[in-house]
Each structure stands twice: as C-alpha cells, then as structure tokens.
Amino acid sequence: MSDALLAVNDLRKSFGALRASDGISFDVMPGETHAVIGPNGAGKTTFISQLAGNLRPDSGRITFAGEDITGLPAPRRARKGLARSFQITSVYPEFSALQNVALAVQAHAGHSFRFWRDARRDPALTGPAEKVLGEVGLKERIHVLAANLAHGEQRQLEVAMALATGPRLLLLDEPMAGMGIEESQRMITLLSSLKRKQTIILVEHDMDAVFRLADRISVLVYGRVIATGTPEEIRGNPEVRGAYLGEDA
C-alpha cells in the first residue's frame, strides 16, 4: 500500500441522499494498468472527478506519490503529473492538432508569463508535441484543426495531450466512448503500447478492451468497490457476475 503511486482511502461523496462514493478505497501501483468498471450509475464519473480534482470529497483521503492531494485543485494536480482525458471529447477545436499538444507541453514547461516570443514557432513546444503526435498515430494530421479531425482522431489527440504533459499517472475516462469497432481497435493498440511505460487508470465500458488491457480491475457498484483483482479473478467472482457481468452475459 505504501509504495502505491495513487492511494485512495475511504472516499465519500454524497449528493443529497445519494451516496455516489460510499467509502471507496483504491490504489494504483507504479506501472500497472488499473481498470475501473461498473454499471451505469455506479459512481464512476463522481469517482474520476474527485481523482482529477474537479469535485471535492466530503471525506476521505487521496494520496499521490506519497503526498496528500485531497485539497488540491485540478491544475495543481495536473502539474504534479496527474493527466486526464475526458469522457466527452475535450480538445481546443479552433487550434490545430499540433497547437493542442503544444499547449499541453507548455503547461508543463514552467510559467507562461512570457509575453513576446511567438509560441506557435517555438521549437521547445512544437518539437515535443510533434513527437507525441507521432506516437499516437497522428503524424500526418498535425496541421489539421482539431474540429476537423474524425471522432476517433480527436480521442487520440486527447491521449496525446495527456501524454505530452509527461504524466506519472494517466487517468483515461472512457477513451473508447462513441467509437466504431475499427477506431476502438486502434485505440486498444495505442493503449497497449503505453502499458508498462505508463501507469494508467482506465475507466471503460468496453469489456473487451478492459480485459485485454488491465492488470487489475476494480468493480464499482453503488459507490462501493465490491471487488478488486486480476481479470481472471474478476471474471470468476460470483458477486461481480451477479451485480454486473451477469447483465451483459
């Protein structure tokens, strides 16, 4: 537990009578891909929002790299190395793919109170950005406006923006959402290439993807983690089958 990169301890968050997070404890070891699954309304989004710093928990503790980050706002967490992608695609539509990623590089290259030099032609920003775009398979598309990218490409761009911040932990919120089969396969290939190199929390509905990518899976139901284990353990867990997988199978 103590060598976990991220540790969540008894996290609670209620909206009126609804206990969206009802004592969640959860940890991520360095280098692992830890998936979070659960039926609709299980509280995945609430959980993610608290990890990313967009929602303040009622109680509980979130520790990142040995430091209590429970009270930190989202931008401070991002600067500490916690990068996220969004369930609903979130890019800068009127900037090119390159500028989108260059901004992510810039966010981690010291303060931005630099008022004169043209940032669009700053190789210290565009260089690393081009490299990351190549890694996610958007090399040919770097000068296309993000708004004009296909949906799948926008999702790749989001992963690129997260990677460009040089994160210690990637928080991917349904990276396959809204994708066709082919696009999903491409994303799975991309994420497999990141395994081991990156520590990843993967929230995903696509069971195929989850069971192929995850080292461990946590199952969230009604704001509680009812099981954590390897894909085999989760598949064989009767409680999980009853609460969740049974619905799909």
């Binding site: 931008p75 539509p93 966010a107 630099r114 043209d118």
Partner: protein, 313 residues
C-alpha cells in the same frame, strides 16, 4: 486579400489622409479620423480580453474615464507635463483594472458582464459626485499635454502621434496573443476545463490580460481628453462601454484588424448619418437608421468586418 496587403493599404491611407484632405480643403476629417483612431485604441485593448480572452467586459469605458481624469486633474492644478499625465493615466487605469478584475474574474458568464458594468457605473456616479472636479459638468482643459519636441496643439502632430500609438497597440496585442501568455488566454477561452486539466490555472493569466487592457484603455482616455480638451463623467457612461464593445463585435472579435475596422465603420457611419441634410429627418433621427444597419451587419458578417478581408487563419 492577405493581411500584409491590408495593413499596408490602411497605413498608407492613414498617412496620406492629412495632406490630401488639407489640399481638398476638408481638414476637419483629420479631427474626425484622429477621434476614430483613439477609440480604435480602446477597442483594440478591449479585444484582448473580449475577443482573445472571452471575458465579456461591459465596463471598458471605466479606463477611458480614469485615464481622462488623470490628465484633467493634473491640468486642473496646472500640471501639464505629458509624461506625468499620461503615465499616471496608464498606471491608475492599470490599478483600477487590477481591483475590478481581481473581483470580477472570479465570476463568469452573465455575472461577469453585470459586475464589470456595475463597477463602471460606480465610477461614473463617483465622477458626477465630485464637485471639486466639476461634477456633472466636468473639467475644461486650458491646454493639451506638454511634451518636449512635440506640440499636440498642432492637429497634424497630434494626428500622427495617435496613428503611431494605434498601430503600436495593434502590434503589441498581436504579439501578446501569439506568445505563450496569449496562447493560454485563447486556449482557456476555447475550453476552460481542458486548460485546467492540462495544468493551467487561468485566473492569473486572465487578470494580467485584464490589467494590460485597462492600461491601454487608460492611454486612450488620456488621448481622448486631449482630443476634445474636455472631460466629463460621460466618458464612463455604460453606453460608452457598449459602443466600444460594439466596435469590437462589428469589426470581428479575436482578429487584429477587427477593432480598428469596427471603430472606423461605426464612427464614420455615425458621422455621415448625423450630418445628413436631405431628407432632413435622417440627420435628426440618425439612430433609427444606424440601429437596424448594425443589427443587419452583425447578422450577415458573422466573423465581423475582418472576416471579409481575411481568409481562415
């Protein structure tokens, strides 16, 4: 038309305007265009926060007023040194912008619009209430700001100074919005949640832009007092804020040329219509014509007048 061609034509035309109009015996155009360029500076500064920053400030006239008062109050006590007057105008406007911005940038949307409007109306009523400085009636200047080697009472010298300052303000904003600082500003207007998620805390960047825009607005105020030799609290009336905002929207938000085009279009139209003599009713009720024209132009030029000249960036 490329942007370089556009600016070259505009600059040449503005450089040539005084000799040409004087030769034609139409010298009053120098005065009119000078006034337009002063408002263009205010519009350019508002464009930094409105067009690039997405901060819909409905109180930009505050800085015209603060800049104007700084000059007029010095003049009232017989201090006419231009560096002192204008330096104070810029500095005081920056301070006022810092105070207003520090509070209002914590809000967003309609609240931001209303709170910037409220602050500016407070300043307006403050101006009216200070009897010492003329209250409602304002202050008349005995002379324009004094500079070495430069005589502002000479309409031509003043004209070229204003032209230079307008171009400088366009250039400064152009550099700012393409710098790292400006990219944060523009990105955050585009998608704030995304900016926060990659690690930008928008508040200080927005506040800095707000202060820069305020300082530039203060310079426009100092110029405006010199233009009319007169200061009234009306400089800060909310309709003035609306006018500046309209210049930016009409010309094209978030473009270099937009605020300049907008100021020229709005103020020239206003001048032409209000001087219309045949039929007479147009000159008397020119707002009736101007209003619908503006509505139509916003409906048809979605990217502003600048959108007519430039291709997609």
């Amino acid at each position: 038309m490329g942007r370089k061609v556009f600016w070259a034509i505009l600059i040449l035309a503005l450089l040539a305007l005084p000799p040409v109009t004087l030769a034609l015996g139409q010298g009053f155009y120098i005065d009119l265009v000078r006034r337009i360029m002063i408002f263009a500076i205010a519009a350019v500064s508002l464009n930094l926060i409105l067009g690039y920053g997405g901060l819909v400030s409905f109180g930009h006239a505050a800085y015209l007023g603060v800049g104007g008062y700084a000059v007029a109050i010095f003049a009232f006590y017989g201090v006419n040194n231009g560096f002192l007057q204008w330096g104070t105008a810029i500095g005081a406007s920056a301070l006022v912008a810092l105070a207003i911005g520090a509070v209002s940038i914590r809000t967003s949307g309609v609240y931001f619009i209303m709170i910037t409007l409220a602050f500016t109306q407070m300043l307006y009523y403050l101006g009216i209430s200070i009897e010492e400085y003329g209250g409602d009636d304002g202050i008349r200047l005995k002379m324009r700001s004094q500079f070495p080697l430069l005589d502002l009472s000479d309409g031509l010298q003043f004209y070229y100074l204003v032209l230079g300052l307008m171009l400088l303000s366009v250039f400064v904003v152009h550099r700012l919005v393409n710098s790292r600082f400006g990219m944060v500003l523009r990105a955050t207007r585009s998608n704030e949640a995304r900016s926060r998620a990659i690690g930008f805390s928008p508040y200080m960047y927005r506040l800095t832009a707000f202060v820069i825009a305020g300082a530039m607005g203060g310079l426009a105020g100092a110029l405006l007092v010199n233009q009319v030799n007169f200061l009234t609290p009306d400089y800060m009336h909310w309709t003035r804020s609306g006018e500046i905002m309209f210049m930016v929207i009409l010309g094209g938000m978030g473009t270099s040329a937009g605020p300049v085009l907008g100021s020229f279009a709005l103020l020239l139209l206003e001048d032409i219509l209000s001087n219309w003599r045949d039929p007479r009713w147009i000159g008397e009720h020119w707002q009736v014509i101007l209003g619908p024209l503006l509505v139509l132009s916003v409906l048809f030029f979605k990217r502003g007048l600048a959108g007519l000249f430039t291709r997609h960036e």
